[in-house]
Amino acid sequence: MGLKRGHRARPLEWICEKLIFLVSLTSILMVFLIFVFIGREALPVIFGHTNTALVQKVIPLERMDQLGPAELQEYLNLSPAQFKELDRESIRALMEVRVEYVKEHSEEPDARINTTSWRYLLGPQQWAGYSKPEYIWQPVSDVPKYNIVPLIIGSLKVTLVALVFSVPLALGAAIYVSQLARPRVREIAKPVIELLAGIPSVVLGFFALIVMATVLQRVFGYESRLNALCAGIALGFSVIPVVFSIAEDALTSVPRSYVQAALSLGASQWRAAWQVVLPAALPGVFAAIALGFGRAIGETMIVLMASGNASIVSGSILDSTRTITATIAAELGEVVFGSPHYRILFLIGVMLFAVTFLTNLSADIIMHRLKGRLEGRR
């Protein structure tokens, strides 16, 4: 009984231990807060509470006195603080402006469209002056167009190029370094490849923009200098160390006895690596590719600098491309706080976070299970 009294006998120690426990919750809290605070800004768009139509309902000036302050404030799209500062005359003036504005725009064909509703965010639309329905991201224009399909296609295209380029290289190197190389080669090659992770992404972006784009254009002779191919290859440089480290870790954690058994049966080192170790570590290899995907789709500076940033829907990797991340980085600095454009940038941020969250979670679970199995815990 005396042993259990420890905590109560030393209140200071008890407090310290509770404090340590509380601080350890920080990471959980932060993941939670990221969801809450990015989601919070995007909520009005998700539930359709924003309206960008140029022509909205008009209240005639005579009815001004019949409305309560709250209604007036909502009608004029003002915040409570802004509304409080205005006197009767300026509110009247604002209402007049509104009536004029609506009269001016009522003839335009697209003026009644709320471009932030889901239909226009995801579906194609034949805007005035276009010959067929199209997906258009054009947030700064008379009728702002927020179709996110070009951005999603852009992100996937660049990510695909990055994975096609980097996964074979990284996996090959992981197999070589973990199974085939002599210990001395291994001890040099591993930290050198991991050094690639130490290059800041802005430096990789710089390299792609200034050096690689010119070289690639000269070799392949395509038209637009900055495109998905150039950005994708540079992105691949940053994906290689991620895929390599995880895959190498998974391959190394396969028990040595598997290899020894294969070798003693007469297999060559390569056959042991390819036919015994790789299949055993396959879930880990998938986890490595998943994490590489998460890294590629979330990378910002490289694509912002090297992809050309034109938001066009095209299947060709030789066209200029705009990704989700580059869009946020390029546009958030200039939007009005709380405007529909601002909220839509947070909306695509939430989507990005959700995708990487799920990828990381599944990779985490796969790796945990794999290690459990290889160590015989299951």
Binding site: I20, A170, Y176, L195, V203, I210, W270, G298, I328, F357
Partner: protein, 327 residues
Amino acid sequence: MTTPSMLAAPEAPGVTARPFRAASFDWFSFLGRGATGLATLLIVAILAAILGNIILVGAPNVSWRFITTGTATDMFDVEKAGILPMIFGTAARVILMTLIVLPAGVLTAIYLTEYAAATSPFTRIIRGAVNNLAGVPSIVFGLFGAGFFVQFIGGHIDSLTQPEGAGAVWGKPALMWASATLAVMTLPVVIVATEEALRAIPQGLREASLALGATKLETIVRVVLPQAVPGILTGAILAVGRAAGEVAPILFTGAAYYMADLPKTLHDQFMDLGYHVFILSTQSPNIERTRSLLYATVLVLLLLTFLLNIVAVVIRGQMRKRMRQLQ
């Protein structure tokens, strides 16, 4: 005297003899070995090409004057512009970040290794959160910093301390918020490195301390933590190396395009090395003429992050060696 029939092994019924394997050349192994070796070599070559290009073009343009002068009046002026304000800004934000992230990271690692049951679902959740935090895209941290630190926390500080109608003091991008955002981003780095260091300390040391009558907390503070200092240091340096080169999280939380003066308070904006590389690469009025400026800035940034990474690797190597001796 021996006849061919005597040399051949007696055949078991139903088993057909196969020719000896090594007689034919094993193309499959040869190609596999060659391809994977080539992949390794290619990655090393890519790294060498990037570093070689930056060092060869950049080194002649880095001078003492370049590192120790401000941006003058025109930051694209090849003759006069320097990068002192950017070095200062980057240093300030990573130092501040370290002050925030170290206590949080180290205490979390202590909880995970010393207190939590290794297999409890709660520990799994903390670990899952840490792993997830490590994989969140950096631009999402930027959005989070803008929404949470700048708008929410900064905005509330302003509404509590500032008279109504006054301009925003804390509710705008600032050194403080950029550092806080980076601290959230590098939390997993510190936790993982510290945890590794704590786990490497022999259980016997803890038991000896407890047996001498020390309480659990005394054991942690006086015995465990001093042993883990190199590991904690490694974590801090890795975090600084990661954060020093990051640009996306500070785009909307504190980095400034241009400032005439150095930041003086925590709620000032700052100029930043990585962001400056971005500006020089994409906003230069004449990219050919400012190329030397750009390469020199990139080289300084790269040296900074690489030096930090290499120092971390060396300290970790030393630590592992010492731990092996202890065990």
